[in-house]
């Protein structure tokens, strides 16, 4: 579905991604793992068009997308739920969700998607007129995921889902991700929380210093000695 082919990315003189290649298959949850500054956010920002790559190519459903602007990539069906939620804090939940459906492709399914996200996260319907910035961290993350789902995505990228959230909430959100996957949406989950993300993922890639260090089936990686030692302290 999504293929990164030898991509390089620079911030000025500093190279953040080095000949990175990886593939995400349709209908799966794929985890993109790695420590801080491993290149996870650079990778997804390159996919979303926020950062331009200087070598290689990115294809989505057979179409090259690395030269497209972010809004064109959204029209292709890729949506990113950014790290730290980045909600429109002084807008209501309802308005945040409306902006999630800003793309042309999402408009026709607005009502259906709104019902779907309210069924997935009922608290959002109860508080739909409240400012997004006034909600708790967990509710804000629900709103951020729901906002992403409003765009009728084919690929949903979620950056640091568990950041700053209580473990019980993280469990709830991970369960919601499985439901989203079962509805036919492919998910790329970017996380530092290796164990929990591998538990719900089908496949995973591990980045180290902007390079692909490991990749494979999630359950196999969970037993990989290098991964265990580096990320699970085992």
């Amino acid at each position: 579905m999504l293929k990164l082919d030898n991509i390089n990315l620079f911030y000025g003189e500093i190279q953040a991604l080095w000949n990175l290649s990886m593939e995400i298959k349709e209908g799966q949850i794929a985890a993109l793992l790695g420590a801080n500054a491993a290149g996870k956010s650079s990778t997804i920002n390159a996919i979303s068009g926020l950062e331009k790559i200087s070598g290689g190519k990115i294809t989505f459903l057979g179409k090259e997308i690395h030269k497209m602007d972010p809004h064109e990539i959204v029209e292709e069906g890729i949506i990113q739920v950014p790290e730290g939620r980045k909600l429109f804090n002084y807008m209501s939940i309802q308005e945040n969700l409306e902006l999630g459906a800003y793309s042309k492709r999402a408009k026709k399914d607005f009502k259906k998607n709104l019902r779907m996200v309210f069924d997935l996260f009922p608290i959002l319907e109860e508080r739909k007129n409240q400012f997004a910035g006034e909600m708790s961290g967990g509710q804000q993350q629900m709103c951020a995921i729901a906002r992403g789902l409003m765009s009728s995505p084919k690929l949903l990228i979620i950056d640091e889902l568990s950041l700053g959230l209580a473990p019980i909430l993280v469990q709830k959100l991970l369960k919601a991700l499985v439901d989203i996957k079962n509805s036919g949406i492919t998910i790329l989950l970017v996380e530092q929380n290796v164990k929990q993300s591998l538990a719900i993922s089908d496949e995973a890639c591990v980045l180290e210093n902007g390079r692909l260090a490991l990749s494979g089936k999630a359950d196999e990686l969970l037993n990989n000695p290098h991964l265990k030692k580096a990320y699970l302290g085992m």
Binding site: S48, L50, D69, Y102, S151
Partner: protein, 294 residues
């Protein structure tokens, strides 16, 4: 009665300041650019209004729609060809770019139109409505009503329409707006166009009241900066009420102190606000995040 007359005059004057400042604040809140050439856009708007009056005999209120369209276009051209190429450069580059544009436009006007003052003559420009001993200038009342109407319409546009919501989204959280599929560059063009169109409207409303000359913009842009800082950068609500406050302050200081001290008074307010509440009196304390919300 003198005090009441002063308060009314101040409010009416404040309406004009509000109209000019709302455009400046929209551009600041969305594009994150301090447009030092905003005053020159006002000057151009007034010259265009005068041009329609002197060549076609069009009343400034009638030609207002044409002036608005011209300034909208000028705003879009400025954003596309001057601001957009330097969007990712340091703030100082943007400041020098708009300051440079301001000086260039002023000097272009001096070169081509001389330093002469031009004004229109209308049948109503000296008309007043008398209520008891109070006298209310009709052109200033019209400008005030227009300012209120524009504030309400702008609020409704930003709050109720999808494009308005996208403008607010870009102002609040640019990266997330990109990620939701908003064409941010297009929104910048639109915001700069609307901000300039608002100053175009202000120019048309000012034409029956003031004469136009090449350096006219300098006076008004300084007041607009005071209004924006007072009201809160990016806040439309703040710009509207900030304009009214500065109008009142100017009128009151002229009567209670000395006419020559009015600028000293509102610049003292400017410094005090910057020192003690830099986000502005009406803001939520988050800079440009609340564009059009309050």
């Amino acid at each position: 009665m003198t005090l009441l007359q002063t308060l009314i005059s101040g409010l009416l004057l404040g309406g004009i300041y509000s109209l000019i400042s709302m455009g400046l604040n929209l551009i600041l809140g969305v594009v994150r650019i301090i447009n030092f050439a905003h005053g020159e856009l006002l000057m151009i708007a007034m010259y265009i209004s005068f041009l329609f009056y002197s060549t076609m005999g069009l009343d400034p209120y009638v030609s207002a729609i044409l002036v608005i369209a011209c300034l909208f276009l000028l705003g879009i051209i400025t954003q596309r060809f001057l601001i957009q190429p330097i969007l990712d450069t340091p703030a100082s580059t943007k400041i020098f770019a708009t300051l440079g544009l301001s000086i260039a436009l002023q000097n272009l006007a001096l070169m081509t139109l001389s330093a002469d003052h031009f004004s229109v003559r209308t049948s109503y420009q000296s008309d007043v409505i008398n209520i008891g001993e109070l006298a209310i200038s009709i052109p200033r009342l019209i400008a005030f009503i227009v300012a209120i109407s524009v504030a309400v319409l702008l609020y409704l546009f930003l709050k109720k329409t999808m494009t308005g919501k996208a403008i607010r989204a870009v102002a609040m959280q640019r990266q997330a707006a990109y990620l939701m599929g908003v064409n941010v560059k297009k929104i910048y063009l639109l915001a700069f166009g609307i901000g300039s169109a608002l100053v175009g409207l202000a120019g048309a409303m000012l034409m029956p009241i003031y004469s136009v000359y090449p350096t006219l913009g300098t006076t008004f842009v300084l007041i607009a900066f005071v209004v924006v800082v007072l009201g809160g950068m990016g806040s439309m609500f703040g710009a509207f009420f900030g304009g009214l406050i500065i109008g009142l302050v100017e009128a009151l200081s002229g009567v209670l102190l000395d006419t020559g001290l009015k600028e000293a008074v509102y610049f003292a307010i400017f410094i005090l606000v910057l020192l003690f509440r830099p986000s502005g009196i009406f803001s939520l304390g988050k800079g440009a995040e609340e564009v059009g919300l309050k």
